[in-house]
């Protein structure tokens, strides 16, 4: 019962921030942001409290949720939601709606089965993420628990960021038990991610494209497989999907609230996985480059403001993790040692590995092949700034993996075998949104916002 209450509290907690900053967003957009921001804001606040010496507990979470709910009520009273445009919904054949809803519904069932029925069995979950959740549930971060300096536990990556484990730990605190329910938060992240992609595409190319790309994304095998195993993959993907939605809205209306939301979500991405820091940096670069030349100065100022908010959010982690032992992977240290310059021989194998990942039938069906085909056939759509914006983001996202593969101490074949599906999963929301933006007119594209 406490698990269900906690999930409801997380939803309520996310509303204030989502509706308060995303002014005049549609109800769909607010729903998407609320579902993902709720766990993020509670998890982040609990991390800060934990750094002050308070480990997560039920009272603390109830008070925090009540405060956020009160703020949400105040925001609700002053909110004006955008009237949703009926962007060609009537043109979607009903059989296609059924197929897409089945795909999305199946994805949710798959996630729910993993979350509620199976225990924690994913290797990364029990060796890394859920072990950290136990640490956070039992000990505050101040004074520093011995876990973080125990070299015998180096395999669990002592310096990995802690937001996803804290989201699980708060569930442990609410239920009063350290058990497998820590992964049930994926029941919020998964629909949040799907709604973010749907809302982003629907605004631009209409419901047909939005429903189709959401269905393609929702049932992708890596998302179903890793979605609720207790790892940090889905939280990162969901935060990223919401940050894309907010960035697109900011590009459209230049309202500062969307930029702040993008920065907050990007900061949380960095708190979720180290890869999230690279994605936040890419977001900053693309924000700086976005907009026409006459708005370039505004874009640069926006990127600087974005970077400042991300830095403020990330600073506590830099202070906390300073001096903690690094694992044998230690990518940051390898970049610093210029090992990158000696690894150009690996480039061919890296491109081959990423290419093989993209066409892996068992993982993705023809998801990425459809995207490549659309990009070729509908290449003129890249003249649309929105498509160019997301296309640049996706390209930079995929390129960002290359340096890590160049300096890794792993055998590349082994590493691709265990990581490429997850890395592509993180990029999948951008791919799905791009697919929607490239949607051809003959297939039901409606230029919803012109």
């Amino acid at each position: 019962m406490w698990c269900a209450i906690d999930l409801c509290l997380l939803v309520v907690s996310g509303f204030a921030l989502a509706a308060g900053l995303a002014r005049r967003a549609s109800r769909l957009e607010i729903a998407a942001l609320t579902l993902c921001i709720g766990p993020g804001v509670i998890g982040f606040c609990l991390l800060l409290f934990s750094m002050l010496g308070l480990r997560p507990n039920r009272i603390e979470i109830l008070i925090l949720s009540a405060a956020l709910a009160a703020a949400g009520i105040a925001v609700w009273k002053t909110s004006r939601f955008e009237v949703e445009q009926n962007s060609g919904a009537a043109r979607i054949p009903s059989w296609w709606i059924v197929i897409c809803c089945c795909a999305i519904g199946y994805g949710f069932i798959s996630i729910a089965v993993d979350a509620l029925y199976y225990p924690i069995v994913e290797w990364d979950a029990f060796a890394i993420w859920q072990l950290k959740a136990q640490v956070l549930a039992i000990f505050p971060l101040h004074p520093l628990p011995s876990y973080f300096t125990d070299l015998a536990l180096s395999y669990s990556h002592l310096r990995y960021p802690l937001l996803a484990p804290m989201i699980s730990a708060q569930m442990h605190a609410m239920t009063g038990r350290i058990d497998d329910l820590g992964k049930t938060v994926s029941l919020l992240f998964y629909p949040g991610m799907c709604l973010a992609v749907f809302a982003a595409v629907r605004r631009v190319t209409g419901s047909f494209a939005a429903l189709t790309v959401t269905a393609l994304l929702a049932c992708a095998e890596p998302i179903c497989r890793y979605g609720s195993t207790g790892t940090a993959e889905l939280p990162l993907t969901a935060f990223y999907a919401c940050s894309l939605l907010c960035m697109l809205r900011w590009r459209e209306n230049r309202q500062i609230g969307y930029l702040v939301l993008t920065a907050i979500l990007s900061g949380w991405m960095a708190w979720t996985k180290n890869e999230g820091l690279a994605l936040a940096a890419i977001n900053a670069v693309v924000i700086a480059l976005s907009g026409p030349k006459e708005l370039r100065r505004q874009s640069l100022a926006a990127a600087a403001g974005f970077a400042a908010v991300v830095a403020i959010i990330y600073l506590p982690w830099i202070i906390f993790s300073w001096g903690l032992p690094r694992s044998d992977e230690d990518y940051a240290g390898r970049f610093a040692s210029l090992q990158l310059l000696h690894s150009f021989g690996r480039l061919g194998r890296i491109f081959l590995g990423i290419g093989q990942g993209l066409i892996d039938w068992e993982n993705w069906g023809i998801f990425w092949i459809i995207l490549v085909m659309l990009a070729i056939v509908e290449r003129r759509q890249f003249r649309n700034p929105r498509a160019a914006f997301i296309g640049t983001l996706l390209l930079l996202h995929l390129l960002a993996y290359i340096p890590a593969f160049m300096v890794t101490n792993w055998n590349l074949d082994e590493l691709f075998g265990v990581t490429i599906d997850r890395l592509l999963m993180h990029a999948a929301p951008a791919a799905a949104i791009l697919m929607g933006f490239l949607w051809p007119a003959w297939a039901g594209r409606t230029n919803a916002t012109g």
Binding site: I138, L151, Y155, L216
Partner: protein, 134 residues
């Protein structure tokens, strides 16, 4: 689109409901979980000794250790001197020793569980459990 959706759902149904991969994994780990909870006390942890494991068996040792740490936490599960850096099964087998019984007691350990490789079945089995101070 239908091909892609159908393929993805097909493979996931295979994973989740036909091959039942999470379920099969869930059947194997309770064995290790059971060893750990039996060997530990409510307040004291375990030292795990791997007997007859060679390099090819490092994966088994690694899985047992990582799972055991998760199951026993916050009670300690030691496999070496805590100053040894353990990133994988090879590190573990290389450093799998302890200074003395009193030292183990100081670390909060209450027993030493020895796991052996059963060469006939090529599977790890528990060989002995020794309680400290008894």
């Amino acid at each position: 689109m239908i091909v892609s959706i159908g393929t993805c759902i097909g493979y996931d149904i295979d994973r989740l409901f036909i091959l039942k991969k999470p379920g099969r994994l869930a059947e194997t780990y309770p064995v290790v979980d059971g060893w750990m909870t039996y060997a530990a006390t409510p307040t004291r942890g375990v030292f795990l000794k791997f007997d007859g494991f060679n390099k090819a068996d490092a994966g088994y040792a690694q899985n047992i250790y990582f799972r055991g740490v998760f199951v026993l936490f916050p009670r300690p599960l030691l496999v070496s001197d805590p100053h040894a850096r353990i990133n994988n099964g090879y590190d573990l087998l290389k450093n799998n020793w302890y200074p003395s019984d009193p030292w183990l007691a100081e670390q909060g350990v209450g027993s030493v569980l020895t796991v052996q490789m059963d060469r006939d079945r090529n599977l790890p089995i528990t060989e002995a459990l020794r309680w400290l101070g008894r």
